[in-house]
Symmetry: C2
Subunit: 463 residues, 2 copies
């Protein structure tokens, strides 16, 4: 049997070996010449302990900041998207939300000053695992600290205040991980944001989404070329692991009724014998998505941000713990009575060896400490301090990664929070759910079905 | 950062290298001493062309065949299950359906003679990729021909007739891939089966399930130790690829509301720093499932049978094509005017390079040849010749691999087939769907929620 899919992987590795320095992964080419740069020389203290002594954020803007600085809208990206949401004078290439942003568009550049940042932890110029650690002049790689979504938000908030002198943004909007960030902005800075829009996001990850990201990470980390994160100076990057991870990721981003309509169970070439390499249309599609992406994004950034998404949980227990970790790190740093190095992030051996399978399925209390109900109450307690805000939550019925029940959960808990605190009937919390008939694109609906996301967004922002 | 999950993989590889012959994978230990063996010395012609010159089926039985040979029930297995559905005199270990089978149980051994076979293509003794190719005395490996579900069924049918002299079985029952096989038995031999039970199966695979199996195959094939299928004589089997593939598989078998109840988003040890190795309970669970399985099943069998499941499609176009391929192979073989070797399966390069992404999503006709409606009609045409049979179809709402709409599709089409042919109102087609409240175990419900599957099965068989 022939294996053209394996030949292709081996050819790429060989190409890296043959060329003097190897083809440079695309993310290395993201220059700072066509973006804007903010640098903070103050340390940022992190939720899981430790700090970054300084950090940079690369960002882009559209529209103009008005005189009273009241029209800034912060756009949060998904895991692998860059700040290039829209073409602009510095970079004419179309952005990932090209049709969504512009004069009289859903995000109207005649009215608003739009800012989109590259998250810290990523690989598009903002400080991340591929950045140089100032302490030794080498890339951080997997010495980089683990981040929370809130850490990303606090870095952005510093940019907003210091770079633009804006004390309250008009709105915060994001999809997918950006939908987590948008809620986190409200949670961290409830008085510094007007309207909040969370599209295809959640208040807390759920086991299926963690499981799918876990597999992506494990597949990437098992690529020998990943080299425990220290591949930057090697000839061959972990392109195979990245390709496989992206194929798994694509399943979560796009599967939905669309695939039934688009691919069905047809094979790319039914006249050929069935083969173990990609053969069905759906397989050639996944293969192509993996190929396209395997050198587009830094593998370590993928691992870190994927984990950050798993860890996202606005429940009171978690948020309190994160704050405590961060304050302790800051206090120790300010007290100067200890070596700051002691506060650096020190990951320890994880509990790989635990075998939850020995706990009978029927006895769920043995693996979870909180019951599902207690856990829900915890989430309500963690969110109610911003339940009086104007919030728009959009979900998509065909989304399997951030399923529609997760957006309903946000809405239900925020409305309960309003009522419990005597802050009204919860009508400040708007909810739109796109049915399968309206969008069959699953999680990526926000990239593909602009009008169905855009109309309620425009109405909410301008209402 | 420490990576205990990678250490564990490297340790296992090292162990294989250090031991003189390496720990034998468990599937190699499946002896023929505690099972029964049927051997056919006649060739079996295959749907995708070519033939096996002879084949063996390893099987087990429970209960007794009655005098008029009318009480045989054939049990079909899922992908990785063996014939050991239940303990018996040859093998006292509990089977995978231990509580389902026995005197007065759901499959009542006082009444029925139960036969469970290991499918051809598998690794539990029946002819498969790890078997010796009689033409050269070496293991087939990836020289093994691609099989259809119908090929598996025809091999079983020969066992039923030749070993037991049974011309019509009382019933055919199977879950998951067994649910496909059970329908295929009716499709291939409508007059040789009384009652048909298909649990958590389908009449045709769908893109999400193909996508998830595709990723399992790609991950396994990308393990350098897989060596394009020729690993049997190597020291290190592709245990890493198998582990990763099983973790992805486990997501499809088990995810459902159960995981919310059992694991939630709790970490195995919240006092530790988050890590990139398994950390959340759900991750340690997946890791453990992968560990348990990575040496339990032959990697090549996993690849072949997984692909066979993808290819399953009872639509008229597909079934006609398969029959034509098989008859042509048989005619040529019988004509003896050509070298039989020419009829051997010859896989050709698959169409890896097709880029369906260039076809706009809105224009689905560009990638599919049949519209979804035409495709549905084709499935009806392919199934209506057995729509007059007594058939029980069971589905589970929380199943994401064989979602409940797939069982509803079987039922709807078979009932339509009855009506269109004037064969009654379709009430011979029984349908049971277990709601999320009844079972939150997803696809594996048939292994975990025996009473909810068993009661309708018992009633149907004895009614």
């Amino acid at each position: 049997m022939l294996f053209p899919c394996l030949d292709k992987l081996e050819d790429r590795s060989q190409k890296f070996l043959n060329e003097s320095s190897g083809p440079e992964p695309a993310y290395g080419k993201v220059g700072k010449h066509n973006t804007l740069l903010y640098k903070s020389d103050e340390p940022i203290f992190l939720d899981y302990g430790g700090f970054l002594p300084s950090f940079e954020i690369v960002y882009e803007t559209w529209g103009k900041l008005n005189e009273d600085k009241s029209n800034l809208i912060l756009i949060h990206t998904g895991l692998s998207a860059s700040s290039h949401a829209k073409s602009n004078s510095l970079n004419k290439n179309p952005g990932w939300w090209e049709g969504f942003i512009g004069p009289n568009k859903y995000l109207d550049t005649n009215k608003y000053f739009l800012v989109c940042t590259n998250v810290i932890g990523g690989c598009y110029g903002s400080t991340g695992p591929s950045s140089i650690d100032p302490s030794d002049g080498k890339r951080y790689a997997t010495r980089f600290p683990m981040l929370s979504v809130q850490d990303m938000i606090r870095a952005q908030n510093r940019l907003i205040k210091e770079q633009f002198g804006v004390s309250k943004i008009y709105a915060s909007i994001g999809c997918s991980m950006g939908g987590m960030q948008s809620l986190a902005y409200a949670s961290e800075f409830p008085n510094e944001v007007g309207k909040i829009i969370s599209v295809s996001g959640c208040a807390r990850s759920h086991p299926y989404s963690i499981a799918m990201r876990h597999c992506q990470r494990q597949v990437l980390m098992s690529d020998p070329n990943w080299n425990r994160g220290f591949y930057y100076d090697n000839k061959i990057p972990p392109h195979t692991g990245m390709k496989l991870a992206r194929e798994i990721g694509t399943i979560t981003y796009r599967s939905g009724p669309e695939w039934e309509y688009r691919f069905g169970v047809e094979r790319a070439d039914p006249s050929r014998q069935p083969a173990l390499c990609p053969d069905f249309l759906i397989e050639t599609y996944l293969d192509h998505q993996g190929e396209k992406f395997c050198l587009e994004y830094d593998p370590n950034s993928m691992l870190y941000i994927s984990k950050t998404m798993d860890l996202f949980d606005l429940g009171l227990t978690n948020v309190s713990k994160l704050r405590k970790g961060r304050f302790q790190a800051e206090e120790k740093f300010n007290g100067k009575d200890i070596d700051p190095k002691e506060l650096q992030f020190r990951p320890v051996e994880s509990a790989c060896s635990i075998d939850p399978d020995t706990a009978p399925v029927s006895n769920v209390r043995r693996t979870r400490k909180l019951t599902p109900l207690e856990s829900k109450v915890d989430l309500l307690e963690g969110m109610k301090h911003f339940s009086n805000k104007d919030i728009l939550v959009i979900g998509v019925e065909s989304d399997i990664l951030f399923p529609a029940w997760q957006q309903r959960e946000i809405v239900d808990l925020l409305r309960q929070g309003c009522k419990q605190q005597g802050l009204g009937d919860g009508s400040n919390i708007k909810h739109v759910e796109l049915s399968e008939e309206v969008s069959m694109y699953g999680h990526d609906t926000f990239l593909l079905s602009l009008e169905h996301i855009g109309e309620p967004v425009k109405h909410f922002l301008e209402g």
